[in-house]
Symmetry: D2
């Protein structure tokens, strides 16, 4: 019904994380359910921020809230296959950042699914948008493709 | 970074399903995680098809595979709140159908989150696209707004 | 390998909560995955505490941590079936409470699965056991069978 | 309220699988939710069977159905920590097998949580118990501690 994007290649991503899959990821059709890919992407983005030391999910006073996501599927993956998630940052604004993400079957050159994922940074207490903290911004800038 | 859609109202949807939420839906920020909304939408679409008698997840030889989804978030919901999912069909092609969906806090007039969700019908064995079965198409047509 | 309990009947439970199921609850065998029953039980117990006003998941300084659960399965349920969870309290100690729980297919007299579920109350900051707060204890006592 | 087991040590398990954690595994208390441990155990047991070539989730005519599980928790783990699941087989009957499982924080000597997990083998079509297939039994026997 509209022009479909083409599967992303690995060289479009700055960082990769390897994730394991679970029995419960396969749905009644025997493949990883479409919803699970968003869990992969959520896992990858936040792991990078936490391991970089710029996010503590329990205490950080400024946090990224997801305001928009989209995912396009090209091929099926299935448990117990390992998944590699490619991460890059496509655009950084004052309060928001848009990631480009993709899930690859381990060792595969083309994405099985790819996504855009937008965080808006908010004050944890008021939920109002605030500027992206400088330490977070520095991490995000390193995730931009050359 | 781009024009944001406005929250959908209830009159944009043809059918509503009430879903309950779970402790595990709330993430470390105390709200329903963005990923869970896609599980709501998957639950709503397939429930309609199964209850209409046009889908058996275990035996149907032709099944809908999700090829693209997108979700925009406007407000937070949280367990143990009940959620109402509005469902309508926006476009029907030869092999594919695009749903418009939204999650409302119980009794709320404006969507907390709204989505587009595209199924392509495929042969279960070959995974190749096939025309939407006639009985499915009849159900989909009843989900189109007047 | 050991004596199996018999399925619980509805009259063994003090309170019931109705939960909806999701596409993602069915696993590759087409039935609700065993793990999901624990999510039902977690949802039911905490919903009762939250709706009674004795638990706020984000702010309560004393919280129940799960230290032991067990579930026995007698029959399969499957999405999009509704599930009714029976809840009663079997034992209340100084710091801990053991719930008896069961999942019934909507309208069914015998449990499809039943569980024991033990919370130990801890100080949220130190994670050390503390006495069950009095307001929580009052709710728990009302969940004991006559 | 009853005698608590002690945390298992690594030498009690025959095989280990490393699993990654996800943002959605942490609940509102900032730790991996108790339910998720059962997803880890389900993932580990079935991965061993699938990778040994004795289980195809979509086509195997004889499958293991979970009839009883129990899990005891000793310590909290949290995303994005890696988890190592220890697997051994404790008892093999004619139709059923009971696994002993534990989740360790990566590199930790003592289990954060440990479980018993019983599969009964059934005919996929009739759901009636049948003898454990010989190829499965051979895999299970190799998982028994020396």
């Amino acid at each position: 019904m509209k022009h479909r994007p083409v599967p992303a290649r690995r060289d479009q991503f700055v960082q990769f994380l390897e994730l394991t899959t679970r029995w419960s990821d396969n749905d009644a059709y025997g493949h990883i359910n479409n919803v699970v890919y968003y869990a992969f992407f959520d896992a990858a983005v936040n792991q990078i921020l936490i391991e970089a030391g710029v996010l503590d999910p329990v205490t950080s006073p400024i946090i990224g809230m997801v305001v928009e996501t989209t995912c396009t599927h090209f091929a099926s993956l299935k448990y117990p296959q390992r998944v590699e998630v490619g991460v890059s940052v496509e655009a950084i604004g004052r309060s928001s950042v848009r990631y480009k993400l993709a899930a690859f079957g381990a060792g595969e050159p083309a994405a099985a699914a790819q996504a855009l994922y937008t965080h808006v940074y908010v004050d944890r207490a008021t939920q109002k948008p605030v500027p992206i903290p400088e330490d977070v911004r520095a991490v995000l800038m390193r995730l931009q493709p050359a």
